[in-house]
C-alpha cells in the first residue's frame, strides 16, 4: 500500500480531523517504539458500538481502545 493510499484509508475510516488526532497519536507512538517514521503501517479503526463511543484503533500488532462519542458519531455518519 502506498503512503498516499494509507492516509486515504485512515481518512475514510476516521472521517474527521479529530479522528486523525487519536489515530495519529497511536501511529506516532508506534513509530517512536520502532524508530520508524509515522505512517509506515496501515491503521484500522473499529467502532463496535457507536452509542458507547468506543473505538478500537489498531496498527501492527497493537490495539488501543479510545472512548470518544463525538469521534464515534462522526465515523458512523461517514460510513452511511
Amino acid at each position: 500500500m502506498t503512503d498516499l493510499t494509507r492516509r486515504g484509508f485512515v481518512k475514510n475510516s476516521a472521517g474527521a480531523a479529530a479522528g486523525m488526532t487519536v489515530i495519529g497519536a497511536l501511529v506516532a507512538d508506534e513509530a517512536d517504539a520502532r524508530g520508524a517514521p509515522p505512517g509506515t503501517e496501515p491503521v484500522v479503526a473499529y467502532v463496535s458500538d457507536p452509542a458507547k463511543g468506543e473505538i478500537s484503533v489498531m496498527t501492527g500488532d497493537r490495539e488501543l481502545t479510545v472512548h470518544d462519542r463525538k469521534l464515534a458519531a462522526r465515523i458512523t455518519r461517514a460510513a452511511r
Binding site: 500500500m1 496501515p42 491503521v43 478500537s56 489498531m58 501492527g60 500488532d61 497493537r62 490495539e63
Partner: protein, 456 residues
C-alpha cells in the same frame, strides 16, 4: 475426529484448525517431554500444486501451566513466513528436491520460535526450515532424509520440527458420525446391520505438525527434574492454540491484505474429542475462543455428556445402568478438567487442584512404559492417556468407555458399569507404520504419487 473440523467457524479455517495435541515423556530421551500439536485436518497427499503449508498469518502456540492455575506460565509461539524463489512458474518444485536447501524447491517455509516464560519473551529459534510436503518419487525421492534435515536443535537442549506428518490419530469417522453406528457392535445398534471391522478413515491423510522436545527441568515451576509422581511439581498442564490478528483488510484488485491488531485465539485443544463430542453446537466457536482457565463455564457438558444419554437409546438394552446414571459425572470432570487426585488409581495422580481447565495433564515423573498399552491408564499403563497423551494412544476407545460409565466407579464404588462399557470401541488400534520411535514420533507422510484416493 479428535478435533478436526470440530466447530463451525474453525472448520472453515483449516490452516488454524488445531486437530490433535500430544504431551508425553520422550520414550528414547526420558529426561525430556515432547509436545506435538497438529493443524490442517485431512490433508490429501496429492493436494497440489499449492501443497499444504502453515499460515503466515497465524500464530501457533504451545502452552504449559506448571502451577495449577489454568494459565500458561510458559508459551512457545511459532510464526511462519513463506519464501518463493521463482514467482514466474506455477510449480512447487522445478526438479527433484534432494535437500531442504535445494534450489529446485520453489515454495518453502521458515519459522521463528519465541518462548514466553513468566512474562519474559525470548526468540529461541529464527529462520528454521520446514521440510517440503511429500510429493512423489520424482520430486521428493528421499523424503525421510529431507524430513530429518528439518529437525533442528535449539539451545538449552530443545529440539524442534515443523512440517507435514502422517496423521497419527485413527478413528472410524464414517461409522461414528452415522449416529454412533460402531461397526463391531452394530448388530446391537438401531440399524441392526451385521457386525464388521472398523474402518480407519484417516490412515493415508496428513497433517502439519509442530513438535517440540523440551528438558523436563524447563517445564517445572521450580526448575527441577521431577522423580516423585506424588508431588504436584511433577504435573504440568498442556494445551495448544492458534490465533489470528483481530482485523484483516483485503485490498481490492491485487490479492493482498493487511492484518492489524492483537492476536485473537481461534482454536485450542487440550484433551481430545472435547469440542468435538462434548461441547454443544451453540458453544463450540466460543469454546475455541476461550482460555482453559475459564472452563468451569463449560463444566455442565462434562458432567452430563450428551453421548451418555444417546448410547442407551442407540443400543437398546445394552446400557441399562448407564441409562439410569443421572448424577453429575465427577469421574469425567476429574479426568478432563482437574486431573485425577492421589488415592483413586494406585501410584498415580495428575491432579492440579480444583481449578477446572481442559488440559492434557502430564505427570512427568512417570517413566515411559516398556510395553505401552494404547488404552493407557484404564489398561494399567500410567504413562498413557489421560496421563498426557502419546501419539498412538487409542483415545476414541478410552473416552467411549469412560462416557459409557467404565470410569464412574472411580468416584462411586457402588456403581457397577454395564458389561458393554468395558468393551465398547470403534474397532481400531494403532498401526505401527504410522509412527516412528524417535522425534518427531509421527511418521513420514504418504507421497501424493503413492496414494490411491479413498483406498481405505
Amino acid at each position: 475426529m479428535s478435533s478436526h473440523r470440530e466447530a463451525p467457524a474453525i472448520s472453515k479455517d483449516p490452516v488454524a484448525d488445531n486437530t490433535d495435541t500430544y504431551a508425553f515423556v520422550s520414550p528414547d530421551d526420558p529426561g525430556t517431554v515432547t509436545i506435538i500439536s497438529n493443524y490442517l485436518p485431512l490433508e490429501a497427499p496429492f493436494g497440489g500444486p499449492n501443497f499444504f503449508e502453515f499460515g503466515d498469518d497465524v500464530r501457533y502456540e504451545l502452552h504449559i501451566d506448571n502451577d495449577a492455575d489454568g494459565e500458561p506460565e510458559i508459551t512457545y509461539e511459532f510464526e511462519f513466513e513463506t519464501e518463493v524463489l521463482n514467482p514466474d512458474t506455477f510449480l512447487y518444485n522445478v526438479g527433484p528436491i534432494d535437500s531442504i536447501t535445494s534450489p529446485n524447491w520453489n515454495r518453502r517455509q521458515f519459522y521463528t520460535v519465541t518462548r514466553v516464560k513468566n512474562g519474559h519473551r525470548q526468540v529461541i529459534g529464527r529462520h528454521l526450515a520446514c521440510p517440503p510436503c511429500n510429493i512423489g518419487p520424482s520430486s521428493t525421492p528421499k523424503y525421510g532424509a529431507l524430513a530429518a534435515e528439518a529437525v533442528h536443535k535449539l539451545g538449552g537442549g530443545l529440539t524442534v520440527f515443523a512440517g507435514q506428518r502422517l496423521e497419527g490419530f485413527y478413528v472410524d469417522l464414517g461409522a461414528i458420525f452415522d449416529l454412533g453406528d460402531l461397526r463391531p457392535f452394530q448388530k446391537l445398534h438401531l440399524s441392526g446391520m451385521a457386525n464388521a471391522h472398523g474402518v480407519d478413515a484417516t490412515h493415508d491423510f496428513s497433517v502439519h505438525s509442530i513438535a517440540l522436545k523440551v528438558p523436563k527441568s524447563e517445564l517445572t515451576s521450580d526448575g527441577s527434574t521431577p522423580t516423585n509422581p506424588a508431588k504436584q511439581v511433577s504435573v504440568i498442564g498442556v494445551w495448544a492454540a492458534a490465533s489470528r490478528r483481530r482485523a484483516v483488510i483485503r485490498e481490492p484488485g491485487n490479492g493482498t491484505s493487511h492484518e492489524s491488531g492483537g492476536w485473537v485465539q481461534v482454536s485450542r485443544l487440550g484433551n481430545p474429542l472435547i469440542n468435538e463430542a462434548i461441547i454443544a453446537m451453540g458453544d463450540k466457536d466460543r469454546w475455541n475462543a476461550q482460555p482453559p482457565a475459564g472452563d468451569s463455564q463449560f463444566a455442565h457438558y462434562y458432567e452430563h455428556p450428551e453421548l451418555a444419554v444417546l448410547l442407551p437409546v442407540l443400543y437398546p438394552g445394552v446400557f441399562p445402568k448407564l441409562a439410569k446414571l443421572t448424577a453429575a459425572r465427577a469421574d469425567l470432570v476429574a479426568i478432563l478438567l482437574t486431573g485425577i487426585p492421589s488415592g483413586i488409581v494406585a501410584g498415580f495422580q495428575n491432579y492440579t487442584g480444583s481449578r477446572q481447565a481442559d488440559q492434557l495433564r502430564l505427570n512427568m515423573a512417570i517413566p515411559p512404559a516398556s510395553k505401552p498399552n494404547p488404552i493407557g491408564l484404564i489398561g494399567g499403563d500410567a504413562a498413557g492417556f489421560p496421563n498426557g497423551r502419546r501419539v498412538f494412544d487409542d483415545v476414541v476407545t478410552v473416552e467411549l468407555r469412560a462416557i459409557a460409565g467404565a470410569t464412574y466407579p472411580l468416584v462411586n464404588k457402588s456403581y457397577k458399569p454395564d458389561p458393554a462399557a468395558a468393551l465398547v470401541t470403534d474397532g481400531l488400534g494403532p498401526n505401527a507404520t504410522r509412527y516412528q520411535p524417535h522425534f518427531p514420533y509421527l511418521g513420514d507422510p504418504q507421497s501424493g504419487y503413492q496414494t490411491t484416493p479413498l483406498a481405505a
